[in-house]
Each structure stands twice: as structure tokens, then as C-alpha cells.
């Protein structure tokens, strides 16, 4: 019994980090109908930022977020302005390929600049023992940070003017435009936030896992599963989906094997698509 609780808790902690990454992905899809295949690479950039800030300035990853968040926001803003805006209303294939090109360019650039060496940030380690349960300290810290950031983003989306502008643009860009909303700017803000969140996810992974140029790809597949579960376009859905996926992954690994758990994740994704394509909170498209 205790071990089952342990497993579920591990899964929830895992899900926290997925939520950060998937949240941004779903936001981009919601506001712009673009599937950003380069999202994982923004995570990677965030991870490297955290590593270098730690290595050069001795900043611990949580503190370095104060620097990397605005930086990644800026990166996203520029990316949207220069590249993504050109394919916003284009057919799906166009945006998929474009973002794939960006992903390749970023991965290749990282390989050339940072080399393929594995890096990692020895920030936290060890367990917090409560009774018989052992909670991973770094994961707790990462999950809490993820919750704070996701919460802040959700607050922004639901309570602020610009947040509402983003949601309006997501619902219907033309109507939003007619209402006088600057949809171009809304999109830039959305992409900026999404990228900042991805970068933050990267910062968290920098002390949980190893940092290397191709690290984004593994997380992206999980992120896709999350947004399908939660509903493509729904930010709260991504959060819930991430937690659910984390628990599924963790429990399946425990009950069967880690390898089979991978298959379970994809089967869950497919089942969701077939039974309820709009996910938990997505809107059924007319």
C-alpha cells in the first residue's frame, strides 16, 4: 500500500514538470492553431541557460529563472514575429514543417555551439522522508516551481486583460480582431509565454536529468500525449493531463515494466483520440 502511494506521488511530481512544457504547447495551439514542433528545443535552450548561469555565475537554477524567464519570453516573441506569424493561418502541414525546421536548426546549432557533451547541474539531491514515504527533494522543488509558474500563467490567462485577449483570439481570431483586439500582439505574447514556460521546464530538467542538445525530443512525445489527454488548446486541461499522464506512467512502470509503460502511454493517447478527441477540457470542434 505504501509503495503504491509512493508510486502515485512520484507520478504526480513527474507530471508537474510535464505540465510546464505541455502548457506552453497547448497555449500555442489554442491561440494560433500551430503545432510547435520546436517546443522541445526551447526546453533545451532553457536547460542550457540554467547550466551556464550555474557554471559561470554560480546561480542556482531556481534563482536563475528570474533571468531565463524574461530571456526565453523574448526569444519566443521574436520567433513569433519573424517566423511563426507567417504560417499562422496556413494549412497544418506548413506550420508542422516550419516548426520542424526550426527544431532542426536549434538542435544543430546547439550541437555545434555546446557540443554533444552531457551536462548537468548538481543542485539538489536526496530524499525527504515522511514516514515510510521517500519524496525526491529535487522533484519536489521542481514540481512546486512548476505549479507556481503554471498558476501564474493561468492567472494571467483568466484574470488579466491581455489574458482575455489571448483567449478571445484562441476562440475566434476574426471576431477578436473585429472587437479591436490586436491579435498579432496577442499571438506574440502567447508564444512568448509558452516559450518562457518551456524554458522554465528546461531549467527544472537541468538539475533532474542530463542536458544535451537532443534532449527536447523525448519530452515532446510526452507533451503531445498530455495535450491530447487534456484537450488541445486548453491550458487547465494540459495541467490535469500532465498529472494524469505522470501517474499513469509511474503506475504502469510499477505494475508492469518501464518499457511497457511507454507503450501504455501511447495507447492511452490513441484511446483518447478515438473515444474523446477533444480531451478532458477541449472544445469539440464544429
Amino acid at each position: 500500500m505504501v509503495t503504491l502511494v509512493q508510486v502515485v506521488v512520484s507520478g504526480l511530481l513527474l507530471g508537474g514538470v510535464y505540465a510546464l512544457l505541455a502548457g506552453g504547447l497547448t497555449l500555442i495551439f489554442g491561440v494560433m492553431r500551430v503545432i510547435n514542433l520546436a517546443h522541445g528545443e526551447f526546453l533545451m535552450l532553457g536547460a542550457y541557460a540554467s547550466f551556464f548561469l550555474f557554471a559561470r555565475l554560480g546561480l542556482n537554477p531556481i534563482l536563475s529563472l528570474f533571468l531565463s524567464l524574461p530571456l526565453m519570453f523574448g526569444v519566443g516573441w521574436i520567433a513569433q514575429r519573424v517566423l511563426i506569424s507567417r504560417v499562422v493561418r496556413a494549412p497544418l502541414l506548413t506550420s508542422l514543417l516550419l516548426t520542424y525546421g526550426v527544431s532542426l536548426a536549434l538542435t544543430g546549432g546547439a550541437q555545434a555551439t555546446f557540443t554533444n557533451d552531457f551536462r548537468s547541474v548538481p543542485f539538489l539531491s536526496g530524499a525527504l522522508n515522511i514516514g515510510e514515504l521517500a519524496f525526491s527533494v529535487p522533484r519536489l522543488v521542481a514540481c512546486v516551481t512548476a505549479l507556481v509558474l503554471t498558476g501564474a500563467a493561468q492567472f494571467f490567462l483568466s484574470r488579466t486583460r491581455w489574458g482575455k485577449a489571448l483567449r478571445a483570439t484562441a476562440q475566434s481570431a476574426d471576431v477578436a480582431l473585429a472587437c479591436g483586439i490586436d491579435i498579432d500582439r496577442a499571438r506574440m505574447i502567447a508564444f512568448g509565454i509558452a516559450t518562457a514556460l518551456a524554458g522554465a521546464a528546461g531549467t527544472l530538467t537541468s538539475f533532474l536529468y542530463t542536458v544535451y542538445p537532443e534532449m527536447g525530443k523525448t519530452f515532446m512525445l510526452k507533451a503531445f500525449a498530455v495535450i491530447v489527454l487534456g484537450g488541445m488548446g486548453s491550458f487547465p486541461g494540459a495541467f490535469l493531463g500532465a498529472l494524469v499522464l505522470g501517474v499513469i506512467e509511474s503506475t504502469a512502470s510499477y505494475v508492469t515494466t518501464t518499457q511497457i509503460a511507454e507503450a501504455v502511454i501511447y495507447i492511452t493517447l490513441l484511446a483518447m483520440l478515438l473515444l474523446r478527441p477533444q480531451g478532458f477540457f477541449g472544445v469539440k470542434e464544429a
Binding site: L96, L98, Y100, G101, V102, G108, L221
Partner: protein, 307 residues
Amino acid sequence: MRIYTGFIGAVAVAIALVPVFGSNYTKTFVLQALMSCALAASWNLISGFTGYVSFGHSAFFGIGAYATGIAIVRGGLPAPLAIIVAGISSATAGLLFGYPALRLRGPYFAVGMLGVAEAIRVGVTVAEPLTGGGKGLVLVPEDVLTVSYYAMFAVAIATVLVTYRVATLPVGLRLLAIREDEVAAELNGIQTTRLKIGAFAISALFAGLAGGIYAWQMSYIDPGTVFAGSLTVRAIAMTMLGGQGTVFGPVIGSVVLSGISEALWARFPFLHTALSGVLIIAIVLFLPGGITQILQDRGWLPRSRRL
């Protein structure tokens, strides 16, 4: 137009003659280009024509590769039979997955197919007694470079021919209608479900055949390589570069992109990934209709479905 078809004909003849005049390296390189061509053309059959963008095309290539591998290693079948098995397996998989998957639209279909490809890859990895798991499968190595070269050539030609027939027959128009507006197509009496699934199965068939020949020729396959996402993406990029929904688009795209990749990678070993990315961005931004469309815009090619 004559020049165009003449050019394609010349390329075909050149490819046919490579084993006679070319070195083994050239044969290997062109064989891999032909494989890319078959993959691109088969992807085009479903995604270029119907607009259902599949991000899991590598699934069928991988199924074909493993079907052949298992047929030869565990079943003791001779290679030609094993490759036919590959085609049957992947076509069946196409029917099996196509039926539920093609009910999804747009991004859901794309992500769904990605999930299918990954699920199959993991499935193959886990089914170790049959497939060798992560270790890969070792086939009996034979020096079949020339034979497999022609086999792959045949598959590539077959795929293009089928595309040609589909494009010029009314069925091609119906597929294109699905791409333009599926609801309207249905209202017009087009049996969209049957057509979609049919196209999907044929697309899977050719991808699987290509996979089978690949396995036979390489004599070693592992899940990471034959189910690689990059296979799908290359097929997509090539088709897009050449012109999706056209007959020869994938051919041009695969020839051009294979050549550029090879040249890029030979010159810039450390930068070629980044440069490939930039290249794809450039293609998407400046050549969305592909080379075929540009040639048509310029009047060098007629706007015909035969191309």
C-alpha cells in the same frame, strides 16, 4: 512539358544504368535515394492527395522491415517471399489503423499517427523473443546490393505509376476533393471513408515494401532506425519540396533533397543538421507549393494532373 517528361525519363534511365557503370558507393547512395523516393511518393498518396497529414509514416516502413526480418530469420522464408509478406503486413496494418485513425481530423490525425508509430516501435522493442528487441535483428548477410537496388527501383516506379493512375483517373479528383473540403465531397456522394482508407492502405503497402527491401539489403535492423521520426519528416519535406498532390513531386523532391543533404553533410559535418533545418524553413516559407507549382506559375509546365 516535353522537356520535363524527357528529363524525368533521362533520370530514370540513368538510375537504371548506375549498377552497370557506378561504384558500390554510388549504388548505395542512389538506393537510399530511391528508398526516400518510395517513402515520399507513398506518403504523398495519402497525405498529398487527401490532405490527411500523417506524422507516422515510418510505422509502415518499420512494419515492413520487421515483417521481412522475422519472415527470413524466424520463418526461414526466402527473401522475395519475405518482402511480399512485408507488403501484406504493412497494407493490413494500414487498413487496421486507417479505419479508426482516419476518423480524426487535421492535427488530431497527425498527432494520432505519431502516437501509432511510437506505439508500434515500443511494441516491437518489447516483443523481444520475436523481434530481438532493442538489440535489433540480424539477417543472414548476403551481397545483394544490385538485386535490392533494382527491387527498390521497381518499388519506387510502382509507387509513382500508381500515383499517376490515381491522379489521372476520376478517383484522383475525388481524393483531391477530400482535401479541399471533405464535408462538401461527402455531400456530393463521394465515398470518402472508403477512398481514404484505400489510399492509406496502398500508401502503407509501398512503404512496407520499401522497408522490406531495406531490411534485406542492410541485413541488420533495429527499432530506433526503422521507426525513426526522421524518415517520416524527410518524406514530408521531399514531397513538399517537389509539390504535394502531384505525381512527380515526390520524385523531384527526393532527388533534390538527397543530393543537397549529401553535399551539405559532406561539406559541413558539424553544421549539417542546423543547415537542414534552415533549408526546410526556407522551403516552407518560399516554396510552399513546391517546385512543381513554381514551374507551373512560370508557364514552363502546364497545370495538369498528370504531373
